[in-house]
Amino acid sequence: MLMIACPWCGPREQTEFAYGGEAHIARPADPDAVDDAQWADYLFMRTNPKGCHREQWNHAFGCRRWFNVERDTLSYRITSVYKPGERPAEPAA
């Protein structure tokens, strides 16, 4: 069970949150300008690392706001929590 520190509400149990997948995936600014492979990359391809992962979470049963978490996918240790538009506190290990 993860303990996640919502940037607005503080530490809460994982059951209050919904997972939102990999963070920082930007929709191509001009979809007409990209080919099928690039569009597929945006839609479906994921980094899926064994180690440091930046991901989105939503405090679904709390303030209902989105934010980013940097977490190790092997140890599950959370190394940083930051608001949308911000960068993680320390560089990824």
Binding site: Q14, A18, R46, T47, K50
Partner: protein, 416 residues
């Protein structure tokens, strides 16, 4: 290889069981192989077996970072069925089910395949409509399937809670009688023994750490036991497929998640079939030893830790107890997780990659055990011929660019 039979059993019994040979060798890796298979789970071992058996390619190594079958093969709840919705998936899983039906004889190894039937419960009107649609689709494809009423479900599973006031009322179910369970370890061991006897080297404690390429073509793999040269490399690493893909500069539409299961203390026989419920994320069967084998849904987050969240199994057990109130006092003995490779359409990716000679077989997610023989069969063909078998041609990596996805979420996502 000494063949197993009643006579060898009797002879060895008289000899105090000191005459048994090891079921497979543990050779030192050679410098070079025609084909290297990465991952010694059921799928990797089946691939090596069919490469030797069907295509006469025997200069093959299976490289396993731990021990064979120690990944999802040895961690899964062993449900086998072929009642998927779409033609492509149904044909692939049905090929596998047909291979299961003769597998113990084929391998001369008892994989304890037990066709005890698989029930998929419907709890809402929409569930029942989906069940009818799927059963009809299956029958049109020559796959057995029946739609059961609540009364018929109760007759098959007397301990199930069929009250109309239950939290998850049972409106009916689909039944595939040819479905069932098998002994997971035996599947890995049987394929390993069969492959080994045909000349395949099974190399355990050998982790692949790099995939070498030269001019867009694979040349071999770096491993914890040195470089091994190969013209063809087949990667079947389940939850670790993304780690392997990144070694070759390939991006996959896959995320790895923990998937948990539990077994209870052994109890007397009470459940002689497999009961699954998509809606409540629970499925259950009773092993021959008497323990209840219970599977949960995946944890939502990406995870390689081979452990998941307590809240996930809590939800599953709450649902199981609603369906089977009599199990509320059964104690759980063990709980664990495997890492499953989840794809966007709940279907596998089996085929060629942008790197020549490099093949991937992954994305089986929560439901690949049932496909073990069929997956090995089509992947061996793909590697041997350099082109996919007709059964896996649709399961290419390109489908994510063309948009021709095979959406099996209804039949596969949570149910296994």
């Amino acid at each position: 290889m000494n063949r197993y039979s009643i006579f060898t059993l009797a002879r060895n019994a008289l000899g105090g069981h000191r005459g048994w040979q090891a079921a497979w060798r543990s050779p030192e890796p050679k410098r070079r192989y025609d084909v290297v298979i990465v991952g010694g789970g059921g799928h990797g071992l089946a691939t090596a077996y069919y490469l030797a058996r069907e295509h006469g390619i025997t200069n093959v190594a299976v490289l396993e970072k731990g021990w064979i079958g120690g990944g999802n093969t040895g961690r899964n709840t062993t449900i086998v069925r072929s009642n998927y919705l779409w033609d492509e998936a149904t044909h692939l899983y049905e090929k596998s089910l047909k291979l299961w039906e003769g597998l113990s004889q084929e391998l001369n190894y008892n994989v304890m395949f037990s066709q005890r039937g698989v029930l998929n419960l419907g709890h809402t009107l929409q569930d029942m409509r989906d069940i009818e649609r799927r059963v009809n689709a299956n029958r049109l494809n020559g796959v057995d399937g029946e739609v059961l009423t609540t009364v018929q479900v109760k007759a098959m599973v007397p301990i199930i809670n069929d009250s109309a006031h239950a939290r998850y009322p049972i409106l009916g179910a689909s039944l595939q009688r040819r479905g069932g369970t098998a002994r997971h370890d035996a599947v890995a061991w049987g394929f390993a023994r069969g492959a080994d006897s045909r000349g395949v080297d099974i190399i355990q404690n050998c982790e692949v750490t790099g995939i070498r390429r030269d001019g867009g073509r694979v040349t071999g793999v770096d491993t914890s036991r040195g470089f091994i040269e190969a013209d063809r490399v087949g990667v079947v690493a389940a939850g670790h497929c993304g780690v392997l893909a990144s070694m070759a500069g390939i991006r996959l539409p896959i995320e790895s998640h923990p998937l948990q299961a539990l077994v209870s203390e052994p109890i007397k026989p009470v459940l002689d079939t497999v009961v699954m419920s998509n809606a409540v994320h629970g499925y259950i069967s009773q092993a021959d030893k008497g323990d209840l084998v219970i599977g949960a849904g995946i944890d939502a987050y990406v995870g390689y830790g081979q452990r998941g969240s307590f809240s996930t199994i809590e939800g599953t057990l709450a649902a199981i107890v609603e369906l089977f109130p009599t199990f509320s006092r059964v104690r759980m003995n063990r709980q664990w997780a495997g890492i499953v490779d989840v794809s966007p359409d709940a279907c596998p990716i089996i085929g060629l990659t942008p790197v020549k000679g490099l093949y991937f077989n992954c994305g089986w997610g929560t439901g690949g055990f049932k496909a073990t023989p069929g997956s090995g069969w089509v992947f061996a063909h793909t590697i041997a011929r350099g082109v996919p078998h007709e059964l896996n041609a649709s399961f290419s990596l390109e489908r994510f660019a063309t948009g021709r996805l095979i959406d099996e979420h209804g039949a596969a996502a949570v149910a296994h």
